[in-house]
């Protein structure tokens, strides 16, 4: 049982808690089946039913593949959850590069650009399963929360602890890497395991985006003059494009570079390491990057 399943097992003791899924068990495989409300692959109803429960203050943890959870059920998210203020936690599996060899029909690489239009949604791409659970433990269901599920364990952080905040997981080099989710976890691992990269880069974990919260986070990021954003999201609506807009709008002198999934569906691969390499994320390539 992983940390998230342990968390849910505790939560389900509360009779107001519901674990819902659209036949997707990736994040909840070890939860007893009798504790799961499975709607089959009816993703629209998954959201509608969750809203009906949430309307009566039930607390729903809603699971599906990210693409079907967000894109297929879009109108239900907008009207039933967002407009009606019915607050749930949505946990999407296989978001971003995690969809590896499923092809474009199963890719969810646009959650931020979709959900930013909603008034009650917060977006969370945790760096590790521990970060996810820690955040969910403090979540009060005053908003909707979309979580891009990440089963990875935490990366050990070797740095001067005084400098560590929730976001700055490493402050050493003068170039700041901004990342999140499973990709951020990988990048942080690469940096931590290489002395030269540790000298070159600092690391900012941009995992949680609150409504209207972007500018405040951007202020922290802009303290670094050189910024490299690495994310598995379409360029439109990405952290990179938003930072870029702020730089242009405010005529800032920060140098910004982005590694993301561009403007098309990303190229699939069976092997996650090949995807990292294709994106230019290896110790060698990171060492060569100039800003």
């Amino acid at each position: 049982m992983n940390a998230y399943e342990k968390f849910l097992t505790k939560k389900i003791k509360n009779k107001n808690t519901y674990i819902l899924t659209a036949e997707n068990l990736l994040a909840i495989r070890n939860i007893k089946r009798e504790n799961i409300c499975d709607v089959g692959i009816c993703e629209q109803n998954l959201i509608g039913v969750a809203a009906g429960i949430a309307k009566n203050n039930g607390q729903c943890y809603v699971h599906a593949l990210s693409n079907f959870l967000i894109s297929r059920a879009y109108e239900f998210l907008k009207i039933d959850l967002d407009y009606n203020n019915c607050n749930c936690v949505l946990v999407g599996s296989m978001g971003g590069i995690q969809s590896t060899f499923n092809g474009p029909t199963h890719q969810s690489i646009d959650e931020m650009s979709i959900l930013e239009n909603f008034l009650t949604f917060e977006i969370f791409f945790p760096l590790s399963i521990e970060e996810m659970v820690k955040t969910l433990e403090n979540f009060k269901f005053k908003k909707n929360l979309y979580v891009r599920y990440n089963p990875e364990e935490s990366v050990k952080v070797f740095t001067n602890k005084k400098n560590i905040t929730n976001n700055f997981l490493q402050i050493s080099g003068d170039c700041l890497i901004v990342s999140n989710g499973i990709l951020g976890n990988h990048v942080l691992g690469l940096i931590q395991n290489n002395k030269d990269l540790r000298k070159k880069f600092s690391f900012f974990n941009f995992s949680y985006l609150k409504k209207n919260g972007f500018q405040n986070i951007a202020k922290k990021i802009f303290k670094f003059k050189k910024i490299l954003v690495i994310e598995d999201h379409l360029e439109n609506g990405s952290i990179f494009s938003r930072l870029n807009q702020l730089i242009l709008k405010n005529k800032l002198k920060n140098k910004l570079k982005g590694i993301n999934l561009g403007k098309n569906y990303f190229h699939t691969d069976k092997n996650l390491n090949n995807i990292y390499n294709n994106l230019g994320i290896s110790q060698k390539k990171l060492m060569k990057i100039k800003l």
Binding site: K15, C37, V39, Q44, N45, V49, K55, N56, E75
Partner: protein, 259 residues
Amino acid sequence: MKNINPRTLNYLLKKKKSVKLKLYNYTKRNSSFLGSCLSCLDVLVYLYYFKYDLTSNKKLRSRFILSKGHAAPNIYSILYDKKIISKREFYSKAAYWHPNKNIKCIDFQTGALGHGLPIGVGMAKFYNDKGAKSKIIVMLGDGELNEGSIWESMLLAVKWKLKNLIIIIDKNKFQANDKTEKILKINNIAKLFKEIGFQVLECNGHNYNDINRKFMKISNIKPVLIIANTIRNFGIKEIQNTKAYWFFDKSNKNISLLN
């Protein structure tokens, strides 16, 4: 089964008249989807004034979700008649053509078709798990059966044995611009839903005694589907049961029919 006693029947007819008058006044001022409102008005009067508590402040009271949201002026007229909303609110911008959640006793914001039943299934599941005795009532249009999400919900209602869920189909045989059977025909709805696992009842949706007889037959052992056979624009002979006048524009020369 017993009929409604004459005194209550008189009361319902009186209420119908009062609500209808308000609906006409609303339409003269704001326009409305009058055809859809008049087909389900009798059933709504029965539900709101006789059968269920749909307007109290009780936490787990019965809930009504108007999935065919464009008949919302009916609900506003009932809430105004019951003095739950004021005249000012009734004629305000807040009382638009679809149910507005910000108006008291509107149990859920609907409008886009195919949403109300999934919500109702979620509510019924919650109420069932809590052992609440009250009902979750969802009204669909027969044209709304075009929506795939409705069929998903039907399957879930049976799977979860939602005996507290009452689905009413306002079968006025029209959708927006034409006859339902011409747009997308569904053969034998009753048989179809019996086979899915519903208790299916059918009534004349303009006859209070018949509506009541069928509600009295609800078994409370599985979800129930009530097909209310109704007539679009019921009560206005000149335009009832025609494909025109789904939407009644206040500038239409025939608005005097509502006088």
